[in-house]
Amino acid sequence: MPLLKLNDIHCYYGNIHALKGVSFEIYHGEIRTLIGANGAGKSTVLMAISAILKPRQGEILYDGMPVAGRAPDELVQAGLCQVPEGRRIFPDMTVGENLEMGAYCRSGRAAIKANLEMVYDLFPVLSKRRRQAGGSLSGGEQQMLALGRALMSQPELLLLDEPSLGLAPLMVEKIFSLIERIAGEGITILLVEQNAQAALRLADYGYVMESGKIILEAPARKLLQDERVKEAYLGE
C-alpha cells in the first residue's frame, strides 16, 4: 500500500484551474520528486496534501485514509509534515522556539528534548544560534531551521517545497546531502524542486509537472536521460 496516493486531484483558485487531474503515489522509505517550471502547480499539490487547500475533485489517501475532512493539524499528528516554499519560519521567534513549534503536536517532554538534541546534532549551526531570532538567520540557515522544525514533529512523510530556492550552490549541495541523511533515517520524502538535476540525482522516482498536470513519470535515473527532460529542465 502506498504511504500517499493522489487520485485525479483538481484544485482551483477562484476560477483558475490550478490542478487538472493529478495522480501519483509514494511508498514507504522512498524519495520521490515533483519537478516543473514556475506556476506548474507543485506547491498547490503540497498544500492540497496538507489539507490547507481543499480539492474540488479527486481523492488523497495518506496511510490508506482519506485526507478530506481532516484538519491540517490532524495530519501533522498522523506524521505528515510539510516544509513550505520560502521556508516560512517564524521570524520573531528564537531558533529554539521555532523548533519547539515543530513539536507542537507532540507530548512527552523527554522525547521532545531528545529529538531537539538530534536536530542540533544534524544542524550544529542551529545549536549555536538557538537564542537568536529566526528572522536574523541567513537563507541557508533558515532552510536548515525549517527542516529541523519539521523533523521535530517526528514525521513519517516529509513534503519539501523547493528547499534549494535562493541558496548559493554550496548551500544547495549541503541541503541536499542533509535531505539524503534524513531519508536515511527512514523518513519518506516528497521533494518539489525546480533544480531538476539535483532532485533527480537524489530521488528514486520522478514526476514532471506542467500546467497543472503530470506529463511524464519514470524512475529518476531514466528522467535524467530523457531528451524532453534534458531540454526543458536540465538546460542541456
Binding site: 493539524d73 499528528q77 513550505p84 516560512r88 517564524f90 520573531d92 519547539e100 507542537y104 503536536c105
Partner: protein
C-alpha cells in the same frame, strides 16, 4: 485656577494618578483589540460592547437585577467568565464564517455586531444610566488609600492599577511561556506555517478571543465602579479610545497596547485639566490621527504587520 506652586504640583500629581487609572483601563481594553488583530488581522469593533457587557453583568449580578444578588467577588468572576465566553461566541457566529472572505466583510460585520450588542443591552437593561448600589460594593474601595495634602488616591484606584498590572504581567507570561502563547505568536507571524506545524488555528483564535474579552470585561467592571455609571453605549467611546491606544502602540503588539493605553489615559486627563475639560475625548482622536499620519506602525508595531494602514 490654582496659584501657588504647592497647589499646582498637587493638581499635577492628582491628575497623574487619575490619568494612570484611566490609562490602565484603556490598556486592559486595548490588549483585546491588539491580540485579536494579531491573530486574524481583524479590528473587532464589537470589543467595546464586551466591555459594556462586563459592566452590566457585574452590576446586574450584585444588585439582583436578574432576581438574586450575588456576593461581589462571585458576581465579578461570573461576569468576567461570561464576557470571555461572549467573545468566543462572537467570533464563532460572526467572524469565523468570514475568515476566507475579503477583510472588509469581517470589518463591516464587526461594526454590525457592535450595533447589535448595544441594542441588545438596551433591550435587556433599558437606556437609563445604572449605578452600582453602594451597599453591595466593598466599602473600603471608596476610602482613600493614600493622601498627601490635596492629593487623594482611593483604594479603587489602587485596585484598578494593581489589577491592570497583574493581569498584564500574567498575559505576558502566557504569551511568552506557554504552549498557547507560542501558538498565538506563531499564528500572528504566519498562519499557514502555524497550521502546517499542527496548530489548530480555530481553537487558538477562540482562546485569544476568550482572553481578550475577559480582560475587556474586567475593564468594564472597573469602569462601572470608578464612574459608577453603566449604560448601553458606554462601550462606544471607551472602545474607540482603547483602539486609538492600540494603534498608538502599534496594533498587534501587546506591550504597545499597554503603553498606548497609559499614554492615552494621561493625555486625556491632562488635556481635560490643562486645556479644557471638553477636549478630553477629542485628544484620543487627535492622537490616533497623528499616529496614522506620522508613524502608522505605531510605537512598537512592525510596518509589515500593519497591512491595514498601508497605501
Amino acid at each position: 485656577m490654582p496659584t501657588t506652586l504647592l497647589e499646582q504640583s498637587s493638581l499635577f500629581l492628582q491628575q497623574f494618578v487619575n490619568g494612570m487609572t484611566l490609562g490602565s483601563i484603556y490598556a486592559l481594553i486595548a490588549v483585546g483589540y491588539t491580540m485579536v488583530y494579531g491573530v486574524i488581522q481583524l479590528i473587532n469593533f464589537a470589543h467595546g460592547e464586551i466591555y459594556m457587557l462586563g459592566a452590566f453583568l457585574s452590576f446586574s449580578l450584585v444588585s439582583g437585577f436578574f432576581g438574586v444578588g450575588l456576593p461581589f467577588v462571585l458576581a465579578v468572576t461570573i461576569a468576567v467568565l461570561v464576557c470571555a465566553l461572549a467573545g468566543v461566541l462572537l467570533d464563532l457566529v460572526a467572524y469565523r464564517p468570514l475568515r476566507r472572505s475579503p477583510r472588509l466583510a469581517a470589518l463591516i460585520t464587526a461594526i454590525g455586531m457592535s450595533i447589535f450588542l448595544q441594542n441588545l443591552a438596551l433591550l435587556i437593561w433599558g437606556g437609563q444610566i445604572r449605578s452600582f448600589p453602594r451597599a453591595v460594593i466593598p466599602v473600603f474601595l471608596f476610602a482613600p488609600a493614600l493622601q498627601f495634602g490635596e492629593v487623594v488616591v482611593s483604594w479603587l484606584q489602587v485596585v484598578i492599577l494593581l489589577t491592570a498590572v497583574i493581569l498584564m504581567v500574567v498575559l505576558q507570561l502566557i504569551v511568552h511561556y506557554t504552549r498557547l502563547g507560542r501558538a498565538m505568536r506563531a499564528i500572528a507571524q504566519d498562519q499557514t506555517a502555524a497550521a502546517l506545524m499542527g496548530v489548530n488555528v480555530d481553537r487558538v483564535v477562540s482562546y485569544t478571543f476568550a482572553l481578550g474579552s475577559g480582560l475587556g470585561g474586567v475593564a468594564g467592571i472597573l469602569v462601572g465602579l470608578y464612574y459608577n455609571a453603566v449604560y448601553p453605549t458606554m462601550g462606544y467611546l471607551a472602545g474607540i479610545k482603547a483602539f486609538a491606544a492600540a494603534v498608538l502602540g502599534g496594533i498587534g503588539s501587546i506591550p504597545g497596547a499597554i503603553l498606548g493605553g497609559g499614554i492615552l489615559g494621561l493625555a486625556e486627563v491632562f488635556g481635560a485639566g490643562y486645556i479644557s475639560s471638553s477636549y478630553g475625548d477629542g485628544i484620543a482622536y487627535a492622537i490616533m490621527i497623528l499616529v496614522i499620519l506620522v508613524k502608522p506602525a505605531g510605537l512598537f508595531g512592525r510596518p509589515s504587520s500593519n497591512k491595514l494602514y498601508r497605501g
